[in-house]
């Protein structure tokens, strides 16, 4: 029987199929293809959004930008501005798009100031919907917003009405990650109090922020512990910096004060590292997946439902199959179709 055992093993060795290399193949192909990610930042002016984006991606996206005066902002409307950059690290290419929302919450009357933002997100969904249903799907560009970082001011006692309204308008369209901005304004106790309060209010108002996926049960304890810490740390209290300072003998990104130096990447100073790791190093792909599988699918289902119910109302025809939209509504073709339609109706009559 020992002999047969040996024979069995060597057979197993010979019978190595090789699909264990699939992850490597996926890795290789993805490197070749490159990745894309669209990140939206939203919050009042002066919350450090641009500084944080620069700190996250270690680049300067906002050279020479012009800020408005208080007077100009009294009646300011919200704009949507996209910055797209191609960055590369160890052969992996990332097409990063940052969607800025200047003007949000800055006017005196901010009624529905989130509307241009929800419209923008819907437009990207609609564009993707058209592309996906079209005939030529080779080079679909995915401009859907994968994540929205929402900056909550650290000066208050919790969420303000505009924060609640904004998140409720967006939580079913995009992954929202709320952040406490400019956290160097708060002592550790104050941070804890504010985080607790914000988590409470998010629950109370039924806001659905991005949830980290559950750990697989077969992950090791250390990973599970880190994951638990991450989840209990939200909303992340962040600090950003465009400048490098000398601290404890090293050059680090930080803020220099007369009473000390705040280091952006020091985990006892703020949650920047947690945010960066989560956003870029571990959960970037999950954010994309949730956008595709949940937010986009919700949009698509809703769209189709509206279309079929409209058709039923129009009473044109009862089709058991949902009508797909034309990929590009060609004006001439539509005219032709309409003409033929009328001809047919005339003949029938």
């Amino acid at each position: 029987s020992q002999a047969s055992h040996r024979f069995h093993n060597s057979l197993l060795e010979k019978q190595y199929v090789g699909f264990a290399t699939l992850p490597n193949q996926v890795h290789r192909k993805s490197v070749k293809k490159g990745f894309d990610f669209t990140l939206m930042v939203a919050g009042e002016s002066g919350m450090g959004k641009s500084t944080l984006v620069n700190s996250l991606f270690l680049t300067d996206l906002y050279k020479d930008r012009k800020l408005l005066n208080a007077e100009e902002r009294i009646n300011q409307t919200v704009e949507i501005i996209k910055h797209t950059v191609d960055i590369e690290e160890k052969g992996v290419k990332l097409k990063l798009t940052i969607v800025d929302t200047p003007g949000f919450g800055d006017a005196v009357n901010n009624n529905e100031c989130w509307k241009p933002i929800t419209d923008y997100i819907d437009q990207q969904f609609e564009q993707y919907f058209r592309d996906e249903s079209g005939l030529n799907r080779k080079n679909i560009q995915d401009n859907r917003v994968h994540c929205c970082l929402y900056f909550i001011p650290p000066f208050g006692h919790g969420l303000r009405p505009v924060d609640v309204e904004f998140m409720k308008a967006l939580h079913e369209k995009v992954n929202i990650i709320p952040l406490i901005a400019k956290a160097d304004c708060l002592t550790p106790n104050e941070i804890k109090k504010l985080k607790d309060r914000i988590r409470e209010e998010i629950d109370k108002f039924g806001i659905k922020v991005y949830q980290f996926p559950e750990c697989d049960s077969d992950e090791d304890e250390e990973f599970k512990q880190l994951d638990k810490e991450l989840k209990e740390c939200t909303p992340f209290a962040v600090i950003g910096s465009n400048t490098v300072v000398e601290a404890r003998g090293q050059r680090v990104r930080g803020r220099l004060y007369p009473w000390g130096i705040v280091e952006v990447e020091n985990q006892s100073h703020c949650d920047f590292v947690k945010l960066r790791n989560m956003l870029i190093r571990s959960h970037m792909h999950d954010l994309k997946d949730v956008t595709c599988d949940v937010h986009y699918e919700n949009y698509r289902a809703q769209c189709i439902q509206e279309m079929t119910s409209k058709l039923a109302q129009d009473n044109r025809m009862e089709s058991p199959i949902p009508i797909l939209p034309l990929s590009t509504p060609d004006v001439d073709t539509e005219k032709l179709i309409k003409m033929k339609d009328e001809e047919v109706c005339k003949d029938v009559i």
Binding site: S45, A70, D184, P258
Partner: protein, 420 residues
Amino acid sequence: MAATDVDIFMNEEKRNLSLGGHVGFDSLPDQLVSKSVTQGFCFNILCVGETGIGKSTLMNTLFNTMFENEEASHYQNGVYLRPRTYDLLESNVHLKLTIVDTVGFGDQINKDESYRPIVDYIDTQFENYLQEELKIKRSLFNYHDTRIHICLYFIAPTGHSLKSLDLVTMKKLDSKVNIIPIIAKADTISKSELHKFKIKIMSELVSNGVQIYQFPTDDETVSEINASMNAHLPFAVVGSVEEVKVGNKTVRARQYPWGVVQVENESHCDFVKLREMLIRVNMEDLREQTHARHYELYRRCKLEEMGFKDTDPDSQPFSLQETYEAKRKEFLGDLQRKEEEMRQMFVNKVKETEAELKEKERELHDKFEQLKRMHQDEKRKVEEKRRDLEEEMNAFNRKKVAAETLSLSQPLKKEKDKKN
């Protein structure tokens, strides 16, 4: 004789005389001081700033005490003002301090009307004082002056510029109250950012014509320090009631993982400057400015609104009494006229309604007549028909009787014929 004497000497110039010895009226300021100390002082501070920006903490820090305060909610429907009065004693000086808080400021989504409750509050305090001043029997020395002497405007430390709400609000307040803008929670701005931020804020205020309080430089004893302080506006402050041990001292500070921000350390923030300016040097000037400038402006506008003038069309000075009487007559005349108008209107309305009612009455009457006629016609017709019917019946009866008598005689004849 005395009156003409006065006339003759009216235009004589004042002469300076030198004294032969110490008279003693140099004690006048001391007398004034001792009187005002006995009276006690009154000071009213208005704090304008968004919820959570540190208004209450700063007040506690400035006055080194814990005024009672519950944390405000972000979900107020509008802005409302909450005044609280405290009696403080330092050395032997009594201070009646009123702190007015703006609750809910900056929280609404639509802040178009946020400034209004603040302006209304300030005006109401002026109005109350004016009413007291205009009374016949007044007790101004006893009056609890609630007019706002200083408005501390708390600017959020964004590092960019003023918020649009800040600009709009300060513009509405600058002609009614002394404004000192301060940068709140300044421990989040680094030194270089702070310098740029202050310059930006001041330039925005200037370019939009917002008048903030200038520390007075006309008194040589304080002009130098005031002038230098003016250049440090807006003050970047940090408030704290917690004490931290630094070196071998315990100071009020905020403890961070990266260091300790000391409230009274002038290289950390401008708290000391604010306290110096607000309380130790210029408190009295603030009270004076409020009374002599802002209140006078309010009073003048209000009285002009009511129709008072200082000079009549011929540029002769009016006496207030004459103006009063003229006003009163005018007012009574107005009242009478209005009464007449209303009475006239009432009479007209009554006439109108009467006429309408009469019209309706006539209509009803006509209708009634018409119906009566119709009824009579119908009755006549029915009568005719009845008579016709009666005649027919009578005719029929006669015929019947005739027929009967005929038939009675007929059978006898038949029988006779049969016998034959």
